[in-house]
């Protein structure tokens, strides 16, 4: 019981949950566990089922594509305090890229199937999560558009 309590506290303290009600924190806690990835370990790979998503507590994760013949390309990164992964929230729930720990990384891992079920039956929870994920997607899209401009590339 104390572990559940600790987990709820960890979720409450993560920046991504700021402003969430206790009720929603409890619902999230029911689908969450603590997890750890060593330097170089993959959190997920492109094409895999997006059955887990992460809130990073410590460390750093690279988002990558394997693009022969150029090899592996890092296109973004996530750090402590940030959420990692949107594919769990959009059908067909498959990861679009690889995610690899660049250093020892601690994260909260959420069971996406469990949480999608709770969001179906609790629209307020769904709203609370979408309100957090939509700005994340918006900022991600802005970053991508700026990267596409290749502003430093010269003439």
């Amino acid at each position: 019981m104390s572990n559940i309590h600790d987990l709820a506290q960890i979720i409450r303290e993560h920046p991504f949950s700021q402003g969430m009600s206790d009720e929603h924190i409890q619902l999230l806690t029911g689908c969450a566990k603590n997890t750890h990835f060593s330097d170089g370990a993959y959190l997920f790979r492109e094409g895999d089922d997006a059955d887990t998503f992460y809130w990073i507590r410590a460390g750093k994760v690279a988002m990558e594509f394997h693009a022969p013949p150029r090899g592996t390309l890092q296109i973004d990164c996530r750090k402590a305090g940030e959420a990692l992964g949107w594919s769990w929230i959009v059908e067909p729930y498959r990861w679009f890229c690889d995610a690899r720990a660049l250093e020892d990384t601690r994260a909260l891992a959420f069971d996406a199937t469990c949480l999608r079920g709770k969001m179906e039956s609790d629209l307020q929870l769904a709203c609370a999560l979408y309100r957090r994920f939509v700005p994340l997607m918006y900022r991600g899209l802005q970053r991508t558009q700026l990267q596409l401009l290749d502003v430093y590339g010269g003439n």
Partner: protein, 285 residues
Amino acid sequence: MAQLPGAALPAKGPMVPHPVAVRHLQRETHDTYTLTLDPPDPDQGLPFTPGQFTMLYLFGIGEVPISISGDPASPMQLVHTIRAVGNVTRPMQDMQRGSVLGVRGPFGTGWPVREARGKDVVLVAGGIGLAPLRPLICHLLKRREDYGHISIFYGARSPADILYRKELESWGGRFDIDVSVIVDHAASDWYGDVGVVTTLLCKLRCDAGNTIVMTCGPEIMMRFVTRELNHLNIADEQIYVSMERNMQCAVGMCGHCQYGPGFVCKDGPVYRLDRIKPFLGIREI
């Protein structure tokens, strides 16, 4: 220091290039190099203010405005970091030690080093935009006690495109300055940040009301940087930008670099943001 033909002649005004010899050429990245030149005046050197530029003349080919990127405390060597992108800057990268270039200047306004005294200082650079900020960084570090918290945010296209890599590592190793570098994309052996430079600003530690920001890079980058800074409660009056336009005469005569009612070569290139913001949104200029 080699005495060049014509070097001893008196100056004939700001439009006359002084012949100077190339002392050293160092390749920085695949398309960028640093030229170290003898100064036009072997006694005085070429004193300049961080942020100013000179006109470099490759005889028989053309003249280009290039920001000075050396240490202002070392006026006896004239340093420019140049990207090889045009008809002048491409052949310029093949110059050998002892080759002769024409130099005019220095011209333009500098970074607000006096206004920044006693304040937190934030520098945001993108790509080759780090070069015009390098003299400022040298100045700030030499007078470290005159300034509050110093942060440098630098964005580059890829790890191979990072300018002044060793110096960035050295500055980042100091305890009295924060240095953050981010690249647009990288291979898997890169352990730094990936993304756009605006992303780094969430790391900013400063007293927003007592901060001066100086930014140099592609105009679109500076537009998004200034927007992000405004969100962090840093006002336009606290932000200085270095503008780039088609500067040719460098003395406000030819009109090629007209920007609103002024000229970038004379009234810039460094501007306080609130003084030019009305013109930033006008696409025709």
